[in-house]
Symmetry: C2
């Protein structure tokens, strides 16, 4: 297939590098043809692979798949200059982040944890255990050798420390997820876990985790 | 520490089982003392460990830590009967789920992907690649032996199949995340990834993943 990547920033360039190693044709689309070509040439020079560059409309014209790799705020503008996308597959690789990357500009209001904190003013609330299927407790806190990660978020450091010790004492791996308002992310994390486990049939012996690249 | 678990359902019972194996004292709080005792006795009988049962107010009174393990909709009610929580640590293990578990009742409006789909009516939008730090493309799609998981969500099955093949061809592990509206969960997943990588100092060679218990 012909894949058009709209955006020549870190994400667009990174995607072009990995996709250029596949059997798919990759074209990078930029505001100007010159900018698109420069981005593609830089990748080929440094990295090899098969990447061409062009302006957005030209890059999109012959594409089967169009990857939007621009800031979300620019997507409306980019779509307007892209020409017809009818019948093409559009991959949305964007995130509706605030300018300081600290939050989302869509679907971002409150959380159960924050609502609960309003009701228990004198007590520090820590979000925790909300992404662990109850069936996991029955089978034990480890998947083979690997402890299930339990995310905790709160605004009171002493309370967070105590909770992390409880999580680890129970055999889980306590993962600091930041301030209480990050419950706005931990609750959707649980919702996605439920979607995967039930709607998508993966069952309840699954859990979200953050994995890291081992040091070389 | 004394830990009070409010709620005797699957989550409360599961937490009581794992916490009863720690050095912490565990008391389960239910609507009535009889119900709390029955829940605790069942755990001790089946599972051993040190768990007591009582009514909510009594269970909370001497607790250092109170775990809310009831449906979110019941939390206001439970807090009202719990008595003073001042100075105690409250662990919120709830999720503000809709009755059919299909979504969230807080912080749940729209997503970049859905807004983009409105703008490109003729083209199926697939959410993908939004949880991969650009720096991961530079280092390669695998962490050691393990391919980084790339989540994709959309409403057009053919488009999703094509995108999953592209993801796998690039060396990642394509994970079906369901319909396009699940971008409402994938975008917060990216926001949490950014919080962990930047605000919490874990760096950019990290990625969210779903892990599974190996079959025994």
């Amino acid at each position: 297939m012909n894949i058009s990547i709209v955006g020549t920033g870190n994400v667009g360039t990174g995607l072009a590098k990995v996709l250029s190693k596949t059997r798919h044709g990759v074209v990078m689309g930029a505001r100007t043809e010159a900018k698109g070509r420069a981005a593609a040439d830089a990748i080929v020079k440094e990295h090899g692979g098969n990447v061409r560059g062009s302006d957005v409309a030209s890059a999109v014209r012959d594409a089967d798949v169009v990857i939007l790799a621009v800031p979300y705020a620019e997507t409306a503008d980019v779509i307007a200059i892209a020409g017809s996308l009818s019948g093409k597959i559009v991959i949305d690789a964007t995130n509706p982040l605030t300018e300081d990357f600290s939050g989302l500009t869509l679907g971002f209001e409150s959380s159960a944890a924050e609502e609960i904190q309003k009701r228990v003013a004198g007590a520090p609330v820590v979000k925790a255990f909300n992404t662990v299927f109850a069936q996991i407790y029955a089978e034990g806190p480890r998947f083979g050798e690997r402890p299930v990660q339990v995310f905790y978020a709160g605004d009171d450091d002493a309370a967070k420390k105590a909770v992390s010790e409880i999580i680890n004492a129970a055999g889980f791996d306590a993962v600091d997820a930041g301030p209480l308002k990050n419950a706005r992310y931990l609750e959707p994390l649980a919702a996605l876990n439920i979607q995967l486990g039930y709607s998508l049939g993966r069952g309840t012996q699954i859990a979200p985790a953050w994995i890291e690249r081992e040091a070389a």
